[in-house]
Subunit: 156 residues, 3 copies
C-alpha cells in the first residue's frame, strides 16, 4: 500500500468507482503528456446526490464543506483512474475549481471550499496544496450545492 | 479535403470567419507549444446574436442546445485559425467550458451543453470526446444564453 | 530596471506584496515547467477590499473597471513572485479569467474586464494580449465585485 492509499485508509475514505462521463463527454483527460483535468464532480452517494440546494438558503456552511469534500473524493477517484490506479504518481495538485450554488447574498465561499482543499492536503501532503477558484453560481447541474474540478500533474 | 472538413461538409456546416477579439484581448492563444485555448464564443449569426435570454425563463432547453452548438461552430472556426487552417492537426479536444445563463431554478445544464459536446463528437470523432464544465451564470455578456470556451491539443 | 518594471513605474503602479493563500491553498502554482496559474485575486487595498457589491446595482461600470484593474495589479504581484522577482521572464499572458458579481440583468461584462485587459497590455505590450473569460456570478467571495485569475507562460 503506497503512502497516498495509506492516508486515505487512515481517513476512513474508501474511494468510490470513478463515475463515467455521460455520452458525449468524459470524466478526465490528459494533455501535455502529464496534466490531468477532470469534468465536474458531484456529491454522489451511490447513484443519488447526497445534498441538493443553495448555500445561503437551503444548505449551511458546514454542510457545504461536507459537500465539497465529497465532490473531492470523487475527483480523487477520477485521478486514480487517470494514473492507471497508482495515486503515488501524482506530482502535484495544480488547481481546484470550486463552483458553489448560492443565493445572491452569500459571501463565505472560502469556508465551503476548504472542504475540498483540506482533504487534498490531508491526502497528498505538501504536493496537495493547490491554487483555487471560488465561484458563486446562479444554478448548478442537478441542483448540486457544489461542483469540483481538479487539475493535477502526474509522472510521465 | 481532409476528414474533418468532410465531416463538417456532411453536417452542412460552413465555418464562419473566426471572430476577432475586441481590443485588449484575443480570440485564441497557444501555450506549451501546442495547447490552444479560446476566449468565449457567442452564438453569432453574422453580426447579431442568434439568441438572447436565460434558460429557465426566456429560452427552452432545445433552443439552448442549438445555441451551445452554434457557439461551438464559432469555437471550431477559432481552432481552425489556430491550426493555420488545417483542422486535421487537432490531436484531441481537451475541454469544453460551458457557461449557461440561467434563472436560479434551472438544473438541466447537461442537456443544453450536449449541443456543444455532440457536435464535437460528430466533427472530430473519438478525439472529440472531452472533459466539460457546466456552469449556471447569473448574467452573461450581451445577454447570451450560452458561452463556450474550448481547449484543444494540436500537432507541434 | 527592466522594461516591465519601467512600464509599471511610468503607470505609477507600485506592486503590493503578493497576498498569500489562506491555509489549505496557495496563490500561484507552476505546471508543465513554465505555466503559471494564480488563485483568485481580489481588489485589496492593504487589508480591506477597496470595493464591494454587485455590478448592475451597487457598482457602476467605471468602478467595476477600476476594480478589475486593481485585482490585476495583485495578479501581476503574484506573477512577479512566481518568476522569482523578475517579470521580464514573462513570455506571454495566456489567459485572464474574469468573474464579475452581477445582478441578473447586467450585460456589459466586456467593459468591466477591460480594466484587467488594458492594464496587461500597458504593462506587457504585445505579449500582454491574452484570451479572456467573462463570467457573471451570482455571488462572490467577500462580496467582491470582481475576481481575476491569471495564466502566464514564463521562461524555463
Amino acid at each position: 500500500m503506497n503512502k497516498i492509499e495509506k492516508r486515505l485508509k487512515d481517513l476512513n475514505i474508501v474511494l468510490p468507482k470513478a463515475k463515467e462521463g455521460v455520452g458525449a463527454y468524459k470524466s478526465w483527460a490528459i494533455f501535455s503528456d502529464n496534466i490531468v483535468c477532470t469534468s465536474g464532480q458531484l456529491p454522489w452517494e451511490n447513484d443519488v446526490l447526497a445534498y441538493t440546494g443553495k448555500l445561503g438558503k437551503d444548505v449551511d456552511v458546514e454542510t457545504g464543506y461536507d459537500c465539497a469534500r465529497l465532490c473531492t473524493i470523487h475527483a480523487i477517484a477520477q485521478l486514480k483512474e487517470a494514473t492507471g490506479g497508482d495515486l503515488s504518481k501524482v506530482k502535484q495538485i495544480i488547481r481546484v475549481e470550486g463552483n458553489i450554488q448560492t443565493t445572491a447574498n452569500f459571501y463565505n465561499h472560502a469556508e465551503v471550499l476548504n472542504g475540498a482543499s483540506e482533504l487534498l492536503n490531508d491526502v497528498f501532503g505538501d504536493i496537495g496544496i493547490h491554487t483555487r477558484t471560488a465561484q458563486g453560481m446562479s444554478s448548478s447541474p442537478l441542483n448540486s450545492p457544489t461542483l469540483i474540478y481538479l487539475f493535477a500533474e502526474i509522472e510521465k
